[in-house]
């Protein structure tokens, strides 16, 4: 976290309130400025305040916003899916309107503004390098220093008469509310985890129910993360599949292309199938797989896959080169799915650093040992 903060102070622009200061206000709708960060068609006007002109943004998401979110879920341009940090308005806010704080990841910004339809409010967008609120809070970029800098830089004390900032609860790991109060005079009120609960939170007089304060990790939460995992990790199974393809040509006698196109192809496709299944199904079935450690959940899934494969292969002798090669997959598949599932800890909303370290101390040596044993069997199977 300290490292992230150092980096931030080294590269952050000296100005604090980008929509007002950095970008000419007469250009709503031009879309993109340098580095793909900028205003889009969602800027629908401007409002004049004591501290300058502030862009007014739409609270309705357009098809372009939805398309952008979909692409980001697949990892396309995800690290550059940003809006300019600074102050924005929705509706016609006054000095008494609430101030909502968000991150400059466009999906975070869109979540917030789409839930503010019909209200008049200010949106203070922090520079989190295009990272969502929770992850940025963990890194410290959604943090006390950045929040204080924006509040002062945007001259928020001249724009609103109250002294209240509504910060998403998941921003709390990066923010020290009492320090923000000391340094700016603004009181941080932690809003609900989900922007969808904002209306109820406001209606209840800034009170969140216990449910609003709890992070979930339901089926749809988990499935939404799978595409990015698939794309992000593809660099591992592709070379592995290529290796199985190429090495399948070895065997008694000379290197044989026939073996590559028969056994090799089956092996390479199996690697890709295990990667796909191992990335999707344990994520989907997480609560129902036995064990608490993700590596254990993944290993169970891999064992079931290997059993199904074994039953299928028993009816099709010749799919694998020999029994040894077939048996090797009983080791390699669970090792692989265990490793893939273990890496899903980073996507989850409830694993701790200490817990993952504990899990890895046991799981990694076991995964490595089993995988090496499987590779050994597979290699031995080439030559009998």
């Amino acid at each position: 976290m300290a490292e992230g903060q150092d980096k931030k102070s080294a590269t952050a622009p000296s100005c604090c309130c980008s929509p007002v200061v950095e970008t000419p206000v007469s250009v709503p709708g031009i879309g993109v400025s340098s580095g793909n960060i900028g205003f889009g068609p969602w800027v629908v006007g401007h409002i004049t305040t004591a501290a300058g002109e502030i862009p007014v943004v739409s609270t309705a998401l357009e098809s372009a916003d939805r398309r952008g979110a979909y692409k980001a879920r697949w990892g396309i341009g995800r690290m550059n899916y940003r809006v300019q940090p600074g102050l924005y308005a929705v509706g016609r806010p006054t000095a008494k309107s609430q101030v909502f704080v968000s991150a400059n990841y466009k999906m975070s910004f869109d979540h917030l503004r789409s839930r503010l339809g019909g209200s008049d409010a200010w949106l203070l967008v922090l520079d989190t390098r295009g990272i969502n609120v929770w992850c940025a809070a963990g890194k410290g970029t959604f943090g006390t220093d950045e929040l204080v800098k924006r509040v002062i830089g945007c001259r928020l004390n001249e724009i609103v008469s109250h002294r209240r900032l509504i910060v998403p609860q998941l921003g709390a790991p990066g923010i020290a509310a009492h320090t923000v109060k000391e340094r700016t005079g603004f009181r941080v009120v932690y809003g609900p985890v989900r922007a969808a609960d904002l209306a109820a939170f406001l209606a209840a007089g800034f009170k969140a129910t216990p449910e609003m304060r709890r992070v979930t990790f339901n089926f749809f939460d988990r499935i939404a993360l799978v595409p990015n995992e698939l794309v992000h990790n593809l660099k591992y199974p592709l070379p592995a599949a290529a290796c199985f393809l190429v090495f399948s040509g070895f065997g008694p006698g000379v290197y044989a292309w026939e073996r590559v196109v028969s056994f090799g192809l089956v092996n390479a496709l199996l690697v890709l199938a295990v990667y796909l299944a191992g990335s999707i199904i344990p994520a989907a079935l997480l609560p129902w797989l036995p064990g608490r450690a993700f590596a254990v959940k993944g290993a169970w899934f891999g064992l079931v896959c290997a059993l199904i494969l074994g039953v299928a292969a028993a009816g099709e002798p010749g799919v694998f080169r020999n029994t040894l090669a077939g048996l090797s997959w009983f080791l390699m598949i669970p090792a692989a799915t265990s490793f893939i599932a273990m890496n899903f800890t980073g996507c989850s909303t409830y694993t701790s650093l200490s817990g993952v370290q504990r899990e890895m101390r046991v799981a990694v040596p076991v995964q490595a040992g089993v995988a090496v044993a499987g590779l050994g069997l597979w290699t031995a199977g080439l030559f009998i």
């Binding site: 990272i131 890194k139 609860q169 450690a293 694993t351 701790s352 899990e359």
Partner: protein
């Protein structure tokens, strides 16, 4: 649906009730309902639910809470081991990660 629970007895979360002034901000910021009020002060009711995000400790004005905050991410831990750094979410500013 079965409740998702992670490993027991691993969290580094500590609460010094002697320092607690009962402001209740830890109850507000905790995403896993680890805390409850007991005799007008915070108390830990479910330490095993703690994900060590650090929100409670960072927001406690009394310094009554401590936790080794970090990311529960195997990928970050592997990267940190390879680079000899502390595990954090920073896969690098330019790379694709969370």
């Amino acid at each position: 649906m079965p409740q998702l629970k992670y490993l027991p007895n691993v969290s580094t979360l500590q609460l010094d009730r002697g320092k607690c002034n009962g402001c209740g901000i830890c109850l507000q910021v905790c995403p896993h309902a680890v805390f409850v009020f007991e005799a007008k002060k915070a108390a830990i009711t479910d330490r095993d639910a703690c994900m060590e995000c650090g929100a409670c400790a960072g927001n406690c004005p009394q310094g009554a809470l401590s936790v080794r905050a970090g990311v529960g991410c195997a990928y970050a831990i592997i990267l940190a081991r390879l680079r000899g750094t502390e595990p954090d979410c920073g896969c690098g500013d330019s790379q694709t990660c969370c």
